[in-house]
Symmetry: C2
Subunit: 335 residues, 2 copies
């Protein structure tokens, strides 16, 4: 696992510079700061701002979802590390157009700490703030402790729903309400077969024995539920589906969207092999799948493995899911 | 390197079934045959058909480019193996609407043999056929032997140009002429740092020593120019750029498009770090970059490494590059 980089220290800045070099028609740095990504063009009419933040190493998460019908700004941390509260505060100010700002991010201690300090800072600017924290990883804690669960790939559905609601002119309270409703019917679980390397560390930060699969592993290599002997694709799909559906309790005529998310090194081939079984399992229950997402949406650099997310849809959520969205890394046009 | 699959024997069929389950609004199997992918809706007006074929293991190549403004059909082989001439012939017939069919594929012995047998077969159907073979990998043979070079990620630019020309109503001869012109100004070179596993083999089919990088390696692990000690991202970008530009001889005010293509396990982060340097090198020459492509377009399952392609543009090629295109794996809407 060798990295094509110039130095561990310049990894994040070089990456952001490359992204801006390629996509300056769509996204920009705030005041030239590579730690803060905003849309290249401000939305034409005032709208609720949607912002996020998180560590690097998860592309396209987080900054890849800054775009039309999605989010307005992203503060960029070092690999697997939260950005500072100062960057978050600058971003929040830049993304407020008088209708308030939704802070939408994953349940990680550093991000929570820094976002709350940032919220305190911008209080003096009279910016109305609501915070919603993604906790979709149902393998990271039992249902009784759902509040302690980690936020993973499901966050992207949060961006999609909140972003579409904001674009449609919803108030901050309305955006927050529909996003909370989306999260309440959204669960994710992942598996991993090999680790990744944090550039400044230079070697795998954890290990998975050959022939084994770690069930429920987090996107930073957080321990999962169990280390099992390698399973088939159908077994993995069924195991994750059962765990998710124990909570969602899907029934005939329900509608869902599905994400099969590659963690980095797992080929698209295998992601589709797993999706095939998920679609069969949902079909057996007469559950309709709307706009499936298969690909790399939230990675862990070169980790191998994948996650499955399922989100229940009602009429409003389906409409918001399907609303146009366009960023350099995500568009509704090929879903 | 463990695979999420059900069995090596069902790998390709399971993958194709998953893809069709997800994208049946855009693509379909011809007569239920998982070896032949066509568009779900035939183009409304007769147009030149564009077809391709190749082994599996390279997603989104090849079948991922069946779509509007791109190609019309793809015959699907086993991993790293050509599909049969019978499948190719059925596909050619299905994609002919009376204006002829362009066979557009990479320079591999099996594909050439089978496509030529297929062309012989459909001769009796009075379908006009032209064949164009991608040979963009400039590391696979010296310029004097350019005819023996392999076709790699540059093939996707071929699909884009030919597909747009066909959609615009060009005749078969005109589509062929503009595609040949695109290829004449197109070069690719890749590097790899770790191998991939063919499912039916079950172990890496070649090896790269730790701390080494293979310069010029092909997408099936074909040996490159040299095995070197690991290089920085800027060194890799410069080395490949210099080799490509020795042939393209770019000068001020030239326009190009660029593809940085991840081979599978290499994070998007690193692809953008390499793109950053390519953009700088082109900037130093005052060469303008149009619609850069960064991501996984032609992979080798879980191989780590990437390739860089550069294609010179004239006014017509630029227009065709930018023309709308939409498949489940590629859309101009986020470029």
């Amino acid at each position: 696992m060798q990295k094509l980089m110039n130095s561990p220290e310049s990894y994040v800045q070089d990456m952001v510079e490359g992204i801006i070099a390629a996509h300056s028609d769509q996204i920009a740095l705030l005041d030239g700061d590579f730690r803060i990504i905003v849309r290249a063009k401000k939305p034409e009419n005032p709208k609720v701002g949607i912002v996020t933040a998180g560590g690097s190493g998860h592309l396209p998460l987080f900054l890849g979802y800054v775009g039309e019908g999605l989010i307005d700004g992203c503060a960029v941390g070092d690999v697997f590390a939260s950005p500072s509260s100062e960057k978050m505060a600058s971003m929040i100010r830049a993304c407020d157009s008088g209708k308030g700002v939704l802070l939408l991010y994953g349940n990680y201690t550093g991000d929570i700490l820094n976002f709350r300090m940032a919220a305190d800072e911008v209080e003096f600017d009279e910016i109305e703030i609501v915070e919603i924290i993604g906790r979709d990883d149902c393998a990271s804690a039992p249902a009784e402790k759902a509040g302690t669960r980690r936020g993973v790939a499901g966050l992207i559905f949060g961006y999609k729903i909140a972003g579409a609601a904001a674009e449609a002119g919803y108030s901050l309270a309305q955006v927050a309400a529909v996003t909370e409703r989306a999260f309440s019917g959204l669960r994710t679980m992942g598996v991993a077969m090999s680790p990744c390397v944090v550039p400044t560390v230079g070697k795998p930060t954890f290990s998975i024995e050959g022939g084994k699969i770690e069930l429920g592993m987090g996107i930073h290599g957080e321990a999962g539920i169990e280390v099992a002997d390698m399973l088939t694709a159908d077994e993995v799909a069924t195991l994750i589906f059962d765990r998710i559906n124990a909570e969602l309790k899907l029934a005939a005529d329900d509608k869902v969207t599905v994400m099969v998310n590659g963690l980095g090194a797992t080929p698209l081939d295998e992601q589709y092999i797993v999706y095939r079984k998920v679609a069969m399992l949902l079909g057996e229950l007469d559950v309709e799948i709307v706009m499936p997402h298969i690909g790399e949406f939230a990675t862990s650099m070169e980790m191998s493995g994948l996650s499955i997310s399922i989100m229940k849809l009602d009429e409003e959520l389906e409409k918001l899911l399907k609303a146009p969205a366009k960023s350099p890394f995500y568009t509704t046009d090929n879903m």
